[in-house]
């Protein structure tokens, strides 16, 4: 694959992720995106869903990217929580493929459901078929959704769909909807922990 093809593919993949998330965001909502990078998801959501959104990001260059993209961003470390953000001040809070890069997994999930009515979480499923095959062959997996070598990955938590759902149960978090997709972007319903490469959740508190 050439660099160009790789980039085109990554962009297609990204658009696909964005479309899945946008499908859960009603128009005109107030949205918070944690680990928002250069703000392209928020830009997409503001263009397609007319949301008013803020991003939270720790990386300085990404913050610069947000400002270039005209995206409102707050530079802070979400590992330290979301203090300052008021309870239920957002309709949706999103963490798109960033939860696995954070150490404060439980704290982040709890904080998300403090500041918003509903959370949208996406993450790569470590138990996906090809990842299992890599481990079985004695290697850390490198795949579409886990595209890093073990020595330069930004990911610090490696977990599966089954693990995540256990944690939600333990934290009293209600899973309102789950979608899982294979590497080709096809939705999978049969044994998602084996057949799903990327998982999306709508989470809330039982009312």
């Amino acid at each position: 694959m050439t660099e160009h093809e790789r980039r085109v593919k990554a962009e297609q993949r990204e658009r696909f992720d964005f479309a899945v998330i946008a499908g859960w965001i009603p128009p005109g909502e107030r949205v918070l995106d944690l680990g928002c990078g250069d703000g392209r998801l928020l830009r997409y959501l503001s263009e397609t869903r007319d949301v008013s959104g803020y991003g939270v990001e720790i990386d300085g260059d990404s913050v610069l990217g947000c400002i270039r993209n005209g995206v409102d961003v707050i530079q802070m470390d979400i590992e330290c929580g979301l203090s300052g953000f008021e309870d239920k001040s957002f309709d949706h809070v999103i963490i798109s493929q960033a939860l696995q890069t954070m150490l404060a997994t439980e704290g982040t999930l709890n904080e998300m459901l403090r500041v918003a009515d509903e959370a949208v979480v996406s993450f790569p499923n470590f138990a996906y078929r090809s990842n299992r095959a890599a481990i079985a062959a004695g290697r850390m997996p490198v795949s579409e959704d886990l595209p890093y070598d073990w020595f330069d990955t930004p990911n610090v938590r490696f977990f599966t769909i089954a693990d995540f759902e256990d944690l939600c149960a333990r934290l009293g978090i209600q899973i309102r909807e789950r979608l899982a997709f294979d590497e080709a972007g096809r939705e999978v319903s049969d044994d998602p922990n084996l057949n799903g490469s990327l998982a999306f959740y709508r989470l809330g508190r039982a009312t």
């Binding site: 008013s52 913050v63 610069l64 400002i67 270039r68 409102d72 961003v73 300052g84 953000f85 008021e86």
Partner: protein, 375 residues
């Protein structure tokens, strides 16, 4: 001389406002003058005007240099100019010496029309809000109904914040840099030390030193020295001076031993030569009194409920005078009011004074934000 992409030779202008200005303290100024400079061209729609507010010791001279004084380069020349982050090809930039200043605007050095003598200590106390009111008169004079942006660092950032509350329809963007929504007890404490240094100078004469033909330079010098410590970071001071000795050995005297002592004395002497003591006292009080939340039971979000502007807020990691947490207070109050805000916490070694430097990341952020302002 000015740097590359300089606005070049500039000249200060002066405007007189004849109608009285009622100040926040209740006192009234019968009329006043402001000196200002402008760079770039006001467009036909008058939609490209940017006000740059100065901090404690700044002036209207933001960019460029004077024909007869080429070494006198504006204090924010690295920001303002053609092709610079605050691009004078796009924006019409205005710098003004605030009321009570000592660079030519009406202040303690001016003659009181009621007495025919210099105001000195009789100059009424002015506040950040009074500055905004005076700046609004300048905007009227220049035909600017709405600023595209009001920009300031430190005390200048407080003016940008005050504009957004006081005249919300007249400001589209506020850039609040290395600032705070109010001073902390520690901040006020440092100001009080500076003031006591000045008022306890035997040459102060209760503020009427000019009539006595003297200047309280010793007090001013001390005030600047203590202020200067708060503008720098511990790490930067350590890096720049460490425990370096002036004469290579411990002299066991009270003369300069360490380089930092020499540096502070130099800064103090330089400042005391040109800055007015009464202005310094007043500026520090303006800082102390600034607290838009004061009239809202300390609730900054309530104070900002009137604001409509979009905000750029930035702080610097090593700024302990107005630490990042102080900027975050502003950010979350804006968020409460559902106002647009971009907040950057910039890694920079230079403490509070970072806002005056041209750190590449800092300037990239400013450039990006300013480029997105429509005119």
């Amino acid at each position: 001389m000015s740097s590359e992409n300089s606005v070049g030779v500039v000249a200060a202008q002066r405007v007189r406002f004849a109608s009285p200005l009622l100040l926040k303290s209740g006192a009234e100024l019968p009329g006043f003058e402001l000196v200002f400079e402008t760079y770039g061209t006001l467009n036909a729609a008058q939609s490209n005007a940017v006000l740059v507010c100065h901090a404690l010791s700044g002036s209207h001279h933001i960019a460029g240099h004077y024909a007869d004084d080429p070494e006198n380069v504006g204090w924010w020349d690295n920001l303002v100019g053609p092709g610079k982050p605050l691009d004078t090809r796009k924006f019409f930039v205005v710098g003004v010496n605030n009321l009570g200043g000592c660079y030519g605007s009406t202040g303690p050095l001016s003659v009181n029309p009621a007495t025919g003598r210099r105001y000195g200590a009789d100059f009424p106390m002015v506040t950040v809000e009074d500055w905004v009111a005076a700046q609004a008169r300048l905007a009227d004079h220049l035909g600017i109904a709405t600023w595209a942006a009001v920009v300031g660092g430190s005390l200048g950032g407080m003016q940008a914040l005050a504009w957004s509350i006081q005249l919300p329809q007249r400001i589209r963007h506020a850039l609040v840099i290395a600032s705070a929504p109010k001073l902390s007890a520690q901040n006020i404490a440092f100001n009080e030390v500076a003031r006591q240094a000045i008022v306890s100078d035997p040459d102060f004469h209760a503020g009427h030193y000019a009539e006595n033909g003297v200047i309280p330079t010793r007090g001013l010098r001390l005030a600047r020295m203590v202020g200067h410590i708060t503008y720098l970071s511990d790490s930067q001071m350590g890096e720049k001076f460490g425990r370096q000795l002036r004469h290579g050995a411990h002299n066991f005297s009270y003369d300069v031993d360490f380089e930092i002592e020499s540096y502070l004395r130099y800064q103090g002497d330089k400042f005391a030569r040109f800055f007015d003591a009464n202005t310094y006292l007043m500026m520090t009080k303006a800082l102390d009194y600034f607290d838009p939340a004061y009239e809202y039971d300390g609730n900054l979000a309530a104070a900002l409920a009137r604001a409509q502007a979009s905000f750029f807020v930035a702080s610097f990691s090593t700024d302990w005078r107005f630490a990042p947490a102080r900027s975050r207070e502003i950010v979350f109050a804006l968020l409460h009011n559902r106002l647009r805000v971009a907040y950057a916490e910039i890694e920079c070694d230079a403490g509070h004074d970072s806002f005056l430097l041209d750190d590449p990341h800092y300037h990239s952020l400013l450039r990006a934000y300013l480029e997105n302002i429509s005119v």
